[in-house]
């Protein structure tokens, strides 16, 4: 089982001070599947013990998978010059 933080440690980021993705806590609590926690390739979403979704936006790779799979996530790009910065890809 991969520790995703090890993969993200290879990636350069220009961290922004605020999250570019906003969740709807009530929707997360009521969600039957929490697919975000499965499909996010950066492991940004974790399901806490009390059925809350915790979002760690600083590792976001800005792919958009979460916005495709979830109707409730408020997704936007990070501010210009912020976020993931690929060098080798």
């Amino acid at each position: 089982m991969v520790i995703i933080e090890d993969k993200l440690g290879l990636v350069r980021y220009n961290a922004d001070v605020e999250s570019h993705i906003k969740l709807d806590a009530a929707a997360c609590r009521a969600c039957p599947h929490h697919v975000c926690a499965i499909v996010c390739p950066a492991g940004c979403y974790t399901l806490s013990d009390d059925a809350e979704i915790l979002l760690s936006y600083t590792g976001c790779l800005e792919c958009g998978t979460c916005r495709v799979m979830c109707d409730h996530v408020e997704w936007d790009y990070p501010r210009g010059g912020c976020g993931v910065s690929y060098r080798f890809t």
Partner: protein, 433 residues
């Protein structure tokens, strides 16, 4: 900066820059907005693209573009748990001008390409997100940027903002992306010495390999893997269907690790040093996901329009992005001459996409997305192919069968002849005839 330009291009990727470069060369005032620090920073793809369009835009591009390896070897591999069957095509001619395909690193290539547009006179504004479109008299007439609450006006806005294209959505040209419209791709760039790559993959000089893999993903997730050679690194990745990941509760990065540890693959990537990890969505549904391509004052190009040919055998996006950029540039030039940026004037774009092959190719392979969705393609058929090939090879003292009776024996209990024929017909209609 001025208040108004002839053209605003949103996104400095291959589609946007192609349009910007050609329009700037034609003497128009073009501004390109890019949300990254530099063009290419936010871009990710498997690794290979085909240069025929680029050669029309920048003739003999290979003399100046930062390229990795020229693809002289193309392999398609069917993978089972512990064996594989491959079709391996080699052609050394593809290692000489005018070449065929090559690998690139987007942070280098896109940056070089955008610089061409700047040298031609386009204004490139980086670190700037375009948040919304501006309207005047009911038509798109500019953009609002997320910087000093800036507004900028233009005769035409070209949305080249990638697969997620928030602008195409805001303009009402397309709906929300559907989980079956896109696949998720992840990739690791693994550093290996140049010499090791050449020896391991049987390449000479700057020759390169593109290898696509069908089947073999753990949990029978629908998807495939890829391996491309760069100058001194490998691009190794997985592309998976989102509903399948959800159903299997599979983490795509676990699948990549599983792929890298596969006995056939481990030998190819061993001793390498992982340098980067990346993820991106790939438009997958071709014509079925195509938005409205234009409206009054606006055009949609590249991944934003879903212009990717994904048939399993062919995986091409960048050359279509460039072709659509060319078509957009020509459309805008003609619209400028007519001083008409309305819908019917910009409708020329669609006709040009027919003429230059983008729409024709997508139509030719319009059944491919459905065919790629066939679960047996990712599970049963790769396993059967490996099993059959292995049996043909094995000399075990038993009476040697001919191929068809052997195949029939393997298929018994696994799949009915009727289903096999149906699948065969679908494969034929999608890819073969």
């Amino acid at each position: 900066m001025k208040d108004k330009y002839d053209v605003i291009v949103v996104g400095a990727g291959p589609a946007g820059i192609t349009a910007a470069y050609l329009l700037a060369k034609a003497g128009l005032e073009v501004v390109v907005f890019e949300r990254g620090e530099f063009p290419g920073e936010k871009n990710m793809f498997g690794g290979a693209f085909y240069g025929s369009m680029l050669n029309q835009i920048v003739p003999n591009y290979w003399e100046e573009a930062p390229l990795e390896r020229f693809l002289t070897r193309k392999v398609v591999t069917f993978l089972s748990e512990d064996s594989c069957v491959s079709v391996d095509v080699k052609n050394r001619n593809f290692g000489h001008p005018p070449y065929n395909g090559f690998t690139v690193r987007r942070a280098r290539f896109d940056r070089w390409y955008a610089q061409k547009a700047v040298e031609a006179g386009a204004l490139l504004v980086t670190r700037t997100v375009v948040d919304d479109l501006l309207y005047r008299d009911g038509r798109v007439a500019g953009v609002r940027v997320r910087r000093d609450e800036g507004e900028l006006w233009a005769d035409v806005v070209i949305a080249a903002d990638g697969v997620n294209s928030l602008l195409a959505q805001k303009a009402g040209l397309r709906r929300e992306l559907n989980p079956t419209h896109v696949n998720l791709g992840i990739k690791e760039v693994i550093q290996l010495p140049q010499r090791t790559i050449e020896e391991r993959f049987n390449l000479a000089g700057n020759e390169g390999l593109a290898n696509e893999f069908v089947g073999g993903l753990e949990g029978n997730v629908h998807g495939g893997a890829f391996l491309y050679t760069n100058t001194d690194s490998l691009s190794v990745g997985i592309v998976a269907q989102l509903p399948s990941l959800q159903q299997n509760r599979s983490k795509i990065y676990d699948l990549l690790e599983g792929f890298k540890s596969h006995p056939m693959i481990h030998e190819l990537v061993k001793d390498g040093v992982a340098k980067e990890y990346s993820a991106h969505l790939v438009p997958e549904a071709g014509l079925h996901m195509m938005p409205q391509l234009y409206t009054d004052g606006m055009l949609v190009v590249g991944d934003a329009a879903g212009f990717v040919l994904a048939t399993g055998l062919y995986l091409e996006g960048v050359n279509y992005a460039m072709a659509s950029g060319m078509a957009a540039a020509k459309t805008v030039q003609e619209a400028v001459a007519r001083r008409d940026f309305g819908k019917s004037s910009l409708g020329r774009y669609k006709k040009l996409l027919e003429e230059n092959g983008v729409l024709t190719d997508l139509r030719t392979f319009k059944r491919a997305p459905e065919f790629i969705g066939n679960p047996r393609l990712h599970t049963l058929y790769p396993r059967l192919a490996c099993d059959l090939a292995e049996s043909m090879f094995a000399v075990d003292g038993q009476p040697r069968p001919k191929l068809l009776p052997l195949a029939r024996r393997k298929l018994r209990g696994q799949i009915s002849m009727r289903q096999l024929l149906k699948d065969g017909l679908e494969a034929g209609r999608s890819l073969l005839w």
